[in-house]
Every structure is written in C-alpha cells, then in structure tokens.
Symmetry: C2
Subunit: 767 residues, 2 copies
Amino acid sequence: MHERFILDEWKIIETSFAPKSAHFSESIFTLGNSHMGLRGFFEEEYSGDSLQGTYLAGIYYPDKTRVGWWKNGYPEFFAKIINSPNWAGVNLMLDGEKIDLAISSFKNFRRELDMKQGKLTRSFTLLSNDGKETDLVITRFLSMAEPNLACITVKATPLNHNSILTVTPYLDGDVKNKDANYGEKFWQEVNKKIDTESALLSVRTKKTNFLVSSAMSVKVLIDSVPQNPEKKLLLKHKYVGYEIKIPLTIGKPVELQKFVAVCTSRDFEEHTLEQTTLSKLQTAYQQGYEALYRNHLAELTRRWEDTDIIIKGDLKAQQGMRYCIFQLNQSYDGKDPRLNIGPKGFSGEKYGGVTYWDTEALCLPFYLYTNEQIAKNLLLYRYYHLPQAQENASKLGLKGALYPMVTIDGQECHNEWEITFEEIHRNAAIAHAIYNYTNYTGDRSYLYDYGLEVLIAISRFWADRVTFNPRKNKYMILGVTGPNEYENNVNNNWYTNTMAAWTLDYTLKSLAELKNDDQVKYRYLAEKLDFEPEELDNWQDIIGKMYYPTVPDLGIFEQNDLYMDKEQVLVKDLPPEELPLNKYWSWDRILRSCFIKQADVIQAFYFLPEQFDLECKQRNFDFYEPRTVHESSLSPSIHSIVASHIGYHHQAYQLFLRSSRLDLENRNDDTDEGIHLTSMAGNWLAVVMGFAGVAVKNNNFTFNPYLPETWESYSFKLNFRKRRLKITVDKEQIKIEQFSGTLFPLYVREKEYLSSKDNLLSIKMVE
Amino acid sequence: MHERFILDEWKIIETSFAPKSAHFSESIFTLGNSHMGLRGFFEEEYSGDSLQGTYLAGIYYPDKTRVGWWKNGYPEFFAKIINSPNWAGVNLMLDGEKIDLAISSFKNFRRELDMKQGKLTRSFTLLSNDGKETDLVITRFLSMAEPNLACITVKATPLNHNSILTVTPYLDGDVKNKDANYGEKFWQEVNKKIDTESALLSVRTKKTNFLVSSAMSVKVLIDSVPQNPEKKLLLKHKYVGYEIKIPLTIGKPVELQKFVAVCTSRDFEEHTLEQTTLSKLQTAYQQGYEALYRNHLAELTRRWEDTDIIIKGDLKAQQGMRYCIFQLNQSYDGKDPRLNIGPKGFSGEKYGGVTYWDTEALCLPFYLYTNEQIAKNLLLYRYYHLPQAQENASKLGLKGALYPMVTIDGQECHNEWEITFEEIHRNAAIAHAIYNYTNYTGDRSYLYDYGLEVLIAISRFWADRVTFNPRKNKYMILGVTGPNEYENNVNNNWYTNTMAAWTLDYTLKSLAELKNDDQVKYRYLAEKLDFEPEELDNWQDIIGKMYYPTVPDLGIFEQNDLYMDKEQVLVKDLPPEELPLNKYWSWDRILRSCFIKQADVIQAFYFLPEQFDLECKQRNFDFYEPRTVHESSLSPSIHSIVASHIGYHHQAYQLFLRSSRLDLENRNDDTDEGIHLTSMAGNWLAVVMGFAGVAVKNNNFTFNPYLPETWESYSFKLNFRKRRLKITVDKEQIKIEQFSGTLFPLYVREKEYLSSKDNLLSIKMVE
C-alpha cells in the first residue's frame, strides 16, 4: 500500500520522484478533457522506465487477436484505443547538457495535480555538474472548454548562472502501443508542415483510417516579456519540432508556452482537417495562455458544481472522493453517443480502453443522478450495437443477443473462452440499466422506443441459453463465469440465474405495460420482432422453474453449484504477503479456492435491493464478504452500498475508504497500468446510494441517510425528474435544498415529506 | 471421409494429385527412420500450397510462449521440435522450363508408399507446352540401418524428344516453422562447403545451440551408365546446391542419385561433426545405392518380423493396421532414452512434436509386448524428469510432482489453464505405466530402484491436491479436466478420482512389498524421501474416503459432478455435417454439451480391467459410448479394447476399423496437420489386448481371443518374460507357437494350458 501523496482536499502532491514508481505516478497524474488525455509522463526526455501514453477518445485500432490456442467463436480482432501522437514533448538542454531526470541531479522535486484547476505542475531544481542551479517549473492543462486545445508551459529560472537553455518542443507520431499484439506500429505519416509560426503533423491509423492532425505554436518570454527567438525547424519521420536556444540570465525567469491543437477525422471533415486544426491553434495562440486557462477553469468549475461531494472531517475520504470525481469528469463528458467509458480512461493501455459492463453496473447510475442525458446516451450506445450483439450470439449458435464483454464498435474483442463465451451475466447488466433509467427518470419513452428491442433480444438469448433439466424439472444455466472471475465455467451461478429470470420478468412486464399503454406501438413491435404468445409463455415457464442454488443449512444462496465443496477459508486468515492473490498465487490455486474476486451474490442485492429481505441480505453478506478479496476494483463500492443498506455502517465506511483511495494507495498493486476509472463512479454511488440511501421505490424518491462515524458532514447535488437538489447530512440534520422544478413528496426513512416552499427541508438526524 | 488410397495389404497408393488435399497426402506419405523424417512434400519446387517439414529427433527450440492473457503458473516457453534443413530438395527444369506441379501439365500421376520396403515412389508423365513428353520417377528412403543416411533418386525418360534436363539438388537451412509463435527463424548458419565431390551445410539452433550438419553427394547415370557431368556450385545464405545440365536422348533414362547424411551434435562430438557427416556420406556414396538400400531393407524387415499383425480376409483392416505399425516403427526405435514419441512423429508441427500422456496410455504397452527394453527406457524418461515435475507442482503451490502435459525436456510447455493446471490425470497414467511394466514383466527392479520414487512423488501430489469436504466427509478433487477435454474445470472427474486413489493404493502396496522384500532398500528410500507413517496413514484415509460421483438410478459412474445436468443427446442424433464438432461448433456449445471427446470413464476400464465387474462395465459403456464423438485419436482404440472385454464384438471391430484407418480416411478432418502416431499403438493393442484378450492376471499370462466376424484369421508375435510367442487365431483354432524360453502355464479363456513340447499349442475356437 502506497502513501506517496500528501493529504489535501483538492490536490494530489508528491514531493519526491521515485523511478521505481514512475508508472504508478504517471497513472495518477493523468490529465484529460474527454476528447484527449495523457499519462503524467515528463515533457522532457526521460531515459528511465516510463509508459508514454497519449490517447484520443474513439481513435482505435483492430489489433489482430493473439491467443495461445484458438477456439471456435473467438473474435479475430481486439479493437483498442491506441497510443496517439505525443504532443506534450519539450526536450530541454542546459549549456548543451541534456536534462533527463534519470541521469541529471536535482532537488526539491514536486509534482502537484490541482483538481480544482485541472492543472498539473512539476517543479525541481536542476543541479548541473559544474555547480549551476536552475529552478524548473513545468505545467500542463487540457482545456475542458475547448477540447481540441492544450497548453504546456516550461519556466526556468537560473539561480546562480548565465547560460543557454535549449528547448525543443515537438510533435511525435512515431509512437506504439506497449500492448500491441504483434509489436506493430499503428500510425502512418500523412503530412507535416512547419514554419516559424506553427508546426503541424498529420498521421493516419492503419485499417481504421482515422486521420489525426496535431499542431503547435510556441511563445517564449523572458522575465514575462515576449521574445522572438530564432527557431531551428526539425523534421523527421512522423515528427516536427523546433529547437530554440534561449539565453538565461541569473535570477531572470524564462518561460516557454506550447500551444497545442489536436483534431481528428472522427469530429471534423477530413479534407479540411489540417485547416481546422491550424485555425483552432491560431485562435488559442492569439487569445493567449491566460484566456485559454480561464475558459478551461470556468467549464471545470461548472462540472465540479454538478458532481462534487463535500466531506467534512475526513481528509482521506475527501481527497479520495474528489480524485474519483475529477477523473470521471475529465475522462468522459457523455456528449458523443459513439463513445463510452473505458476502465482506464486516458491513463493506460490495459483493457484496450473500451467498453465493459462496468458502464451499466456503475457509471450509468452516476450519470442518472447527475446528467440524465448522458445516461440516455449510454443506453443508446448499446441500442445501436444490438445487431452486433445478435451476430455475437449467433456465432455461438444461440438466439437473441449476447452483448460483448469488451467492445468499441459493438463487436466482441475479448478472447478467453471462460470470459468471452461464459461471462454472459453482462447481458443482464445491460437489461438492468434500461430498468434503472426508466425507474429513476419515470420516462418510459426510451423503454418503448428502444429499450424493449434490447430487452427482447436479451431475453431470447436467456431463453435459448438455459438448459431444461428433466431430472430436476428445473431450468439451469450451465457453463458460465459469474461476476466472480476467480471461478470459471461453473453451473448455475446464482447471480446469473437470478438476473436472467429477472430480465425475462422485466421484459414480460414491460411488454404488458406497453400493450396497455400503446396498442399500436405494441403491435408494431410484435410484428417487427416476430414474437408470438408461445414465446412469452416459454419465458414465463423459465421464470417459474428457474433453479437457484442454495445452502439450506446456512440459509444462504450458493454462489454456484458446488461452491460449498470448496475448502472454506476466510480472507482474514490469509497471510498478507499473499495478497493480492492474482499476483502471488497460481491461477490453479485461485480457481480452486473459495476466495471471491468481486461482488457476485452481493451484486444482485445492489441491482435488486427490494427483491430480498434484510435478514437474507445480512446472512449472505456475513457469509460472502469475509471470502471476498475485492481484487476487482468494481467490488468494494458495491459491497459498501449493500453494507449501508443492511445497516453495516462501519463496514460500509471501510469499504468506501478502500475503494475511494484504491488508486491513490495502489491497493490492488496495479495502478502502474492505469487508474480504475469505471470503479470511481461506484464510490460516488457509495455515498449517494449507500450513506445517503437515495433510491426510487414505487416511483417515490426516498432517502435513508446516515453519517459515517468519523465524518462531520457530507453534501452532494443530484437531479430528480427535472428538479435539482442539494443534500447535506451532518450530525444534527438532513438538509434538502431544491433549486429548481416543482415541489414533490419525498420519503426520508420511510416517512413522507414535501419539499418545502422556501426550498429547504430540514429533518433532524435523531428524531 | 477420404477414400484417396487404393486398398493394398502393403502399399498406400494414390493415382491422382489433388492440390486441395496436398497437406493431407504429405502427412500420409511421411517417411522417417527414428533419427530423422520428413513429410511427403515434393523434391522439386512446388509453388502450390504445401507444408514443408523435415524433422530431426530431439532437435527442438524453446519458442516463447504466446497467450492472449497470461495466468500465473504458465510456462515461459513451448519447446518444439522444429523444421530442420531441407535435404530432400532437387529442383528440375526441362529445356529451361521449371517443373512445378502447380503449373506444369502432367498425366499418370502416382504416389506409392511401399511399407514393406520403406520407400516412397512418385511418378508422372510431364507434358511440356511444345508437346514433349517425359516420364519422371522420384523415390526416397531413409535408412533404417544407418539412421544418418538417406537417398533420393530422380529418373527421367524422354518419350519423344532430345533435350536438356537441369537438376538442382540442394540443402536448404533457411526454413522456418509455420507455427513459430512470433514468426521467428530458429536456425543460424555456421558453415558451408562445396566442391564437385560433396556439399555441406552446418547450421545451429538459437538458444538450444544444436549443431546440425547435412551433406550430399550426387551420381548421374544415363541409361544406367555413370556420368561425370559438369556441376555448377551454388552458394546462398544457409544454402548449398549443384546445378547440373544433363542431355536427354529419346527413350534413354537418365538418373540422379542424391546421397544425404545428416548428423547432429546430440549424437556426435561437435568439433568433429562435419568430418563425421562427410565420412558417413562418403561411405554411403562408395557403397552405392543398392547396398545402402539392402541394409535398410534388412533392418526394416526385422522390425516387421517383431511387430506385424497379419489379418486375413479384411484388406481395409490389414492396410490400416500395417500403416499404423509402419509409422510406429519408422518414427521411434526407443534406443535413445532422451527421446519419446511425439503425437505426430515426423509428419507435422502440431503439438510441438513432444511428449504427452499418450506415451504411457498407449505406446508403452505396445513396446511392453514387443520390446521390453524400450518400455523401460520410456519409464526412465519420466524418472529423469522427476525434478522438473516437482518444480512444476511447486509452481502451482502443490507438493510432490506434477508431470507436464507436454514436454521435451521435462518442463511444462502447454499454456491453457484448463489443460496445463487441470488435466492432472496425466500423473496417473505415468504411475500406471510403472504398474503395467512391473505386472507384465514380473521384474520388480525398476519399481524398487526408480519407480517408487516417482510413485511417491505423484502420491504426494494427489494427497495435496485433494480437498477434504467436512460437509460430506469425503475427499474431493476440484477443478480438473478429465481425459474428455470437451469439459473443463469440472469437479470430481470420476476417472481422475479413481486413478488418484488407485495410485495411492498401488504406492502403499508397493512400499509394503519393498519393506517385506528388502528392508535395507526400504529404509534407504524412507530416508531419502523423508516419509513418515503419518503420511502413509493420510494416504490410506484418502483412499477410504475418496468421493466417486455416481448416477444411482442408472447404475453408472457419473463422468464428473453435474454431468447429468447437461442435456442428454446421443451422437447418432447429431446431423453428420456438424461433425467433427471441434470444426463446426463454437467452443461454448461443445463445453455445454454432453458430448465426450474421448474415453474418460471407459479409460479406467482399460487401465484397471479387473477392478470393475462385467455388468458395471457394460452399463457404463452403454451409457457413455453413444455420447462419445472420439474426436481425440486416442479414444476409439480404447473403446474398442473395452468393448472386446465386455463382449461387444461388433462394436469393438467397428471402433478398431475407424481407429486403424483414422488417418488414411482423414476421419477427424485434421490429418493435413500430421498423422496421429501415438494413437496408432492403440490399434495394435486393440487386436492384441482386445480381440486376442492378452493380459497378465495374477501373474499369469492369459488369452481370451475371438475372431472379428469378417476376418479369416489374424496373427501376431509378442514377448513374455524372455519367451517369444506367435499367436494365430482363425475360425477353427487358437495357435500359440513358442520360439524361445522355458515352457510356461498359460490361461486361455480361464482354462490352464502348458505351452507344449513341440512349441505349438493349438486350442479349438469352439470347444
């Protein structure tokens, strides 16, 4: 567990540079603006170990699948978000000597991410061999207001010398993915142009043919006075740059400002792309750094307004929570329905940067509470991918639709049979998201216009995927991997069976409601999708005869058939040096153990909180939580929410704290590969759905809040059916402020209130 | 199903060339001599699709493992037998026009493998564009007597023209493996020498540093008269060759004889390797073709003497059986205890050409009956690999030894978790081989000197790998893949549990016998291996409380837990166009189906025939055989043997026929990748152990023969405890001839006989 960073409510600060943790820090200091992003690698050359990663939303490459042993049904390609041209680079030399923190001497190293400002600042004092000392401050931000723009500044102050600083700002398209399956480079040069005003580089991806133009212009200031220094123009394959020699005078700061514009053919006309890019660059350059930064900050502030959770009395929790919100806000803005939320955001290559069921499990609810339109866009994303999901099912010889485990364009990418073919519960999360949206917003139009098509396709998959077992007169789901990926190819994963039956039931009920609400639309749908009453009867039969494994003597659900045959050991009895298991145990040992990677039975309590009674949830939580190692980042926040729901407040808080600081403390020892973006949404939910107990039950907005022991208060905003609310919970009271929309009844601890006239409702914590 | 080949008792003949089946025919026409071998690719250039493969026993390369997703415990390398320098090449041109059967016109194509002579002959009449007709006959053999030598002949007879034939015999080291994980070439040039007498090429493998020298000399004869034509010397990277222009005169045959010697640093001193190679070549050249061929034939005839099965009245069976025996004899001679039997012999790259449990399951018994020393060498092979097997177990966090699924040097190569970590039943086959050898030979010295160490290590593995289930008071083996690889990660595979308990029991009994026979040796072993009575008591406890899944209402063993929850369908109800399933079904569908790839429950009846009563075996066979698709080549012969044992003679014959002609008829649609060598031993056993019912029971040699319906007779030879026997079974009688050794009692159909004085015992078939 790392404690690299100073506790601060708005900042992530490290005060030393640890080459061994370089990847980890690079991940943490990732910056982005929904359109583009990059890891916290250094601007200047660094010859030590580093994972340079610069990413553009939606710019991907179908990398030919790599497997050891092919199985029928595997996809041919793994579409991955790729490392894009590096626009951040600025090489530095002092009196001809390269500045390279792997080699150079330096002191006072400090790196600071200001989350309120969306800016990364790095500073150090360079100690040259001949005794020269130079202060360097390097900053970067990516404009939240104008997503094609970014700005880098390098400021050097010679403390005890006059000398020459050589700065080499550049754009470099000769990059590759560390995880390229066959070591291939994905970019080809298309064009480059350079003069003293600006430099431009256009490159194109192979196969997908995305055209990307990057351009830069630079300003040099000495003691805040603009200069016009000579620039040597550098042109190499897939590379443009300037070499600028700047005289340094003792005590006088010198600053380089690098303005960057990056545009892609995803967003702009290809034939005018370079022009567009240069024109954006020029405007930014003319506006100047301050104006650019001001606009950026204004937009970021607006996002904080919408999503911040203010925690008083617990700096660790506050910092962790804000880090999560910051990463969510800077990685995805939900405006482009072709995009989704990759598990690593802009912080790394792992998982290909593409869409998993994380979206429906955790991110969608976050947007439901904060920005309904984004939630709807995420639903539409899956609707548009329905044909590919149908093709995916048919590849396996099954009816209906099987949504991919991993995708960027709707096609399956993943290629482990136990996941690709068997982790089919993902389908249920997509069905549940439709329910979740409809239930929370009260808006049935998505359900009727789009959602039912998805639900029916998924239901058809379930109905074909079950096996009727005449010996037991039950429907079973054989050969699956549940959410707990530390068991594979099991029979009757309780969660999967539960969610499959739930999907069939929700689909039938929704169809019945549509039939009632809108006969015409119902008939249209019945004709379009060609369903007959017999099919619906069959679904009803499956719901009625679904098999659910249980452990009768313990009064719990059995995670899957035969789970109880495993040796039953608890996580607390594991030697700490063997955790995380996925690092220290063989896969064989993990599979045969009872240890659970992530919420599995408990996941159903999160999705379907009203379907199980309190004692049942408690018994299962008591059994499964001590066996759960939470080696999926998706897990602890789910357990935290359920712990809140069943009154296990201390555990809920502990799980929340672990989860909210998962990356800052590198809890799963894998943040070097990138942060865990999608799970970050879960921490927001752990406060809102967990601590505050926000839910919509029977169409009513309900709260069941409590205050974690060590906290003084917490507050957050949310939207509910065209109303904007702010909720504050402290030791004395629950305050509900309504900013907009009509007054409405709401339930706090199962008691009805009406949001009051003066838009402030205050309820005592202890009544 | 292919019927490409003419039925013949000694030959495999094709009378047309089918480019689409080129790989298939190349596999079938593989030649070898235990030291080296090659697929039946053409000597002259062929621009069509071909899998050129030339292999040298034991010459391997540790190819870096390729996986999609790494799992802890996977091996870093897959050691594979690699494609070696091509010494067979002879390019041909007629009047400057290349002869290439992908482009040239030709008629009367014929390819003939004479199994009695160990020689491959290919002939065709070339039709040139300008009307020239030329008969070509190309032969090859690899000397069974002198395994470093081979000879190619090319004979050309111009039917209607005088012209110039250009022949280019060469040695080419610039070859690669089609299945190289990273497209790498494994060979580096070391040296090449050429003059008009001989050409030599020395190449070395990367990493493993095997040095291989190949050398060739050529003779040219016109109308059987030796010539001394001019040779143009060709030298290229990793290549040496001669270009020879020979004048053709109408009606006069011209012949090229290419003598080849190939030696490796595995067998000879490296610093004199080239000299050794050249000297072997020179001797062969001086002896001449006829003498070389005579010696080869003498040795091959000797092997046929030892191993042939003569079947009268069933040409299909005779041809199939002889093809199996031929491939076994030419691929492995058992003289080098560092070598083992790869599943494809010299016929392809698939499976890496290395050691699987096939050896113990099928090959070892074949050698037990025909050449005891080879069987012992195969046991020693595993004994020498014990340290690596122990390391392999400890990598998984387990005690004792886990023999690898695939190996060449004792280290695991395979990298699918469901096989590598879970198909642990392979350990039991290795234990059983020790029992089998000891039981058949009556010689306990291997058991006491070596075998017990292996048995104890394997027993320790089982004792650690079981899970005690206190809820059921049973020991279970969780997370395994049984012999049926169409189910993965199952619990309590009945076969595995049975064989694990059997291993523990056999180990305990063998220890008790050793203690009784040789106290000193026992104490030595107990000290060396550090075993205490408590450990042995624990094994006894596991044997007593082992859990065996059963289906009580059907009176059968359950293949593994939950097998009966699958939809129960029979193979006969599958549409034929969906077979083999592994080609036409998604892996997901295969896994969830009840279809069984290969003998699983039935495999135990083969290994432990006396442990189960007849009715029990029949019930299980009746249940499992109709669900078995036999998509492993190991399977049908095992089922055939068990069918014989339980009196299902018609099925036994059908299964035998399928199995013995598996490759000739391309039954599993995969012979293009190579033949199924190891399974070929099973067909020999299907006759000897199955039809003839040979076994050693209670230390007695027993027969229980029958004659398959359509057969007139069959006969074979075998060795039993220093006696050489010939058994002939026809419609009237069972004849047992004894050629050597003392007379002994034997049991035919449970009745005791004594081998008679005149060394011929005749027993009426119908008594």
